[in-house]
């Protein structure tokens, strides 16, 4: 009886008695969720356009951030001042690097394996992962790096909002992350729906044969998809890195994207967002209010339990394409 009270009543009582803590938890859940969503977005872009589950997405996040920091260091050493010119210059160069990476991946990985089963391509992305890890360590070194937030004009500090009799503290960098992520998602959504290239990406995802018949170049589309995923990885890397540091362990975060994708659907951009937010908020609420009861590991496993439930009852996710075929 006491246990039931502890699980089902007490947490909500706590939520009610300290609403400012609830707001804080919800906010942090939202921020975490948005960042998960960004990673999931990278997966969705590549999966939607080339049918490949890109295991290397996590390391692409790290690699992009490392390249940015590295190039900034180089530009700074060459005497490029003021700092923000060097920072944005490094950003532009990193974008070019991601484009080059996309082109190389298409040429060297996708094209030779074009008619192979999906599992082969998935394994190839494993290879890509280890290649990028090695390359990153070789070029940039294995120690953690710091993102140059000031030079990039990213805000620091926090807003303390008086609310519900207490305080809620909103980190400015978190607000920036949510804003930037929202803009990016909205932009990508519009891109897919409204533009010729967006339509071509959807076409290639749907049927290679039909796409070829209509004159679409599969190779070009793949480069664009991987480049877009690379940009998303770069933004994700900057945001995650700005909140802590850029280190190789960051790629583990990518594993969290899997429950997000299961929840939202592997091919849906809005799904990645909604899924990310549900998981992020769910995790934080669970950790804070049920953590003391169930042991503080909830953040680690809750996402996967939610994913399991979805796999049982709605495997295509909330927004995934329901496979309806006429028999």
């Amino acid at each position: 009886m006491d246990l039931l009270y502890k699980i089902f009543i007490d947490p909500f009582v706590q939520m009610g008695t300290a609403p400012d803590l609830l707001m804080q938890t919800l906010w942090e859940g939202l921020v975490a969720g948005v960042l998960y969503a960004l990673i999931a977005l990278g997966f969705v872009l590549i999966f939607k356009a080339s049918g490949v589950f890109n295991f290397a997405q996590g390391i692409m996040v790290v690699f992009a951030a490392l390249t940015l920091v590295g190039l900034y260091g180089v530009l700074h050493k060459w005497g490029i001042r003021p700092a923000d010119v060097a920072a944005y210059g490094a950003l532009a160069l990193t974008v070019l690097v991601m484009l080059a990476l996309a082109w190389c991946v298409e040429r060297l990985m996708l094209r030779p394996l074009v008619n192979q089963p999906d599992i082969i391509l998935f394994m190839a992305t494993f290879g890509l992962t280890y290649f990028l890890i090695g390359l990153g360590e070789l070029v940039f070194g294995g120690d953690p790096k710091v993102i140059m937030t000031e030079a990039l004009h990213l805000p620091s500090g926090a807003y303390e909002i008086k609310m519900f009799g207490g305080f809620v503290s909103l980190q400015k960098i978190d607000i920036a992350a949510v804003l930037i992520a929202s803009i990016m998602v909205a932009g990508l959504g519009m891109f897919f729906q409204k533009t010729r290239i967006g339509r071509a990406l959807r076409a290639v995802a749907d049927s290679h044969k039909a796409a070829l018949s209509v004159g679409i170049s599969l190779e070009q589309i793949w480069v664009i998809a991987w480049f877009a995923a690379g940009i998303v990885a770069l933004v994700t890397g900057i945001m995650w890195g700005a909140r802590s540091q850029v280190e190789f362990s960051l790629q583990i975060i990518a594993l969290k994207a899997l429950p997000v994708l299961i929840l939202g659907g592997f091919t849906s951009i809005p799904g990645a967002i909604v899924g990310g937010i549900i998981i992020g908020v769910g995790e934080k609420l669970g950790e804070f209010y049920w953590g003391p009861l169930l042991g503080s590991g909830i953040e680690t496993w809750l996402a996967y339990v939610i994913a399991l439930v979805f796999l049982l009852f709605r495997p295509e996710g909330l927004f995934g394409e329901r496979i309806i075929e006429r028999i």
Binding site: F191, K194, T195, R196, I197, R199, A200, R202, A203, A205, D206, S207, K209, A210, A211, L212, S213, V214, G215, I216, S217, L218, E321, I324, E325, R326
Partner: protein, 266 residues
């Protein structure tokens, strides 16, 4: 029998010519030494028993298969190897036996996809979606709506094509091919699986496409009645070889053709 058009087909210039083409898959010889041509503005039927190599022939023409021997000359340019998207860019559109549509997209989106090659404005303009890009998008939309009206598929414009019945899917596929404004339209069994009324509709569409848009058409068809009615000239394949080539009348009375298969007129 079609009424003769004002333009004399016999005098028409050659749009596509297939010269001595052979194709084999491992040990299986799908096509051996086939030569024929397609003249501009005509409707050319390719017929033959099942397994004769008709679809393989179409696949060669639009680049899905590469022949081991022989050449294709299209609009004056000769090549032996070509990728399907290059053929599309060159002005060849294609429908498939089993319908190759973007099943997850609406009928309208499928047709708009057909306009891909015609969309000139660069990627950045498209993103910003104003000025020249918007005007172009509207123009394409207009063309697509014309085709939708022409094929009478207004009711299903926004329906996901994966859910449509087979006959309507074939019509959407034809629409998408038309949206490409091709010089040569390849139709692989456009009447397959249709009832009499649907066949009459499709026949009318094909004739209209030929007379109104002036598109040259090559079609594979099993229904002899349709072949006799629609086509200007017929090429007959059997076991990968050409056994007859001429007007429907000539072909119908050809001994080899009659021997090859008992063509039943519906």
């Amino acid at each position: 029998m079609r009424a003769p058009t004002e333009q004399s087909i016999a005098a028409g210039e050659v749009l596509l010519s297939v010269e001595d083409v052979s194709l084999s898959f491992g040990g299986v010889q799908a096509i051996s030494g086939v030569s024929f041509d397609i003249r501009k503005g005509e409707i050319r039927a390719i017929i033959g028993p099942n397994g004769a190599g008709k679809t393989s022939m179409l696949n060669i023409i639009n680049g899905f298969y590469q022949p081991q021997y022989g050449r294709i000359t299209f609009k004056g340019e000769t090549r032996s190897k070509m990728r399907p998207n290059e053929a599309a860019r060159g002005g060849i559109a294609r429908t498939f036996q089993n319908v190759a549509l973007f099943k997850g997209m609406t009928a309208l989106d499928n047709l708009m996809a057909g306009r891909t090659l015609r969309m000139k404005r660069g990627f950045l303009w498209q993103l910003l979606r104003f000025g020249p890009a918007l005007g172009e998008e509207t123009e394409h939309r207009q063309r697509v709506e014309e085709i939708i009206d022409f094929l009478k598929i207004q009711a299903i414009r926004k329906v996901q094509v994966g859910r449509l019945p087979y006959g309507l899917q074939k019509r959407v596929e034809l629409g998408r091919a038309l949206a490409m404004e091709p010089d040569l339209l390849l139709l692989d069994e456009p009447m397959a699986g249709m009832n009499l009324e649907e066949k009459e509709d499709m026949s009318r569409f094909i004739i209209d496409v030929n007379t109104i848009y002036g598109t040259t058409i090559a079609l594979i068809e099993h229904d002899m009645g349709v072949v006799m009615d629609l086509s200007d000239r017929v090429v007959v394949l059997n076991y990968g070889r050409k056994i007859a080539d001429g007007t429907p009348e000539q072909v119908r009375n050809d001994r080899d053709v009659i021997d090859a298969y008992l063509g039943v007129t519906h």
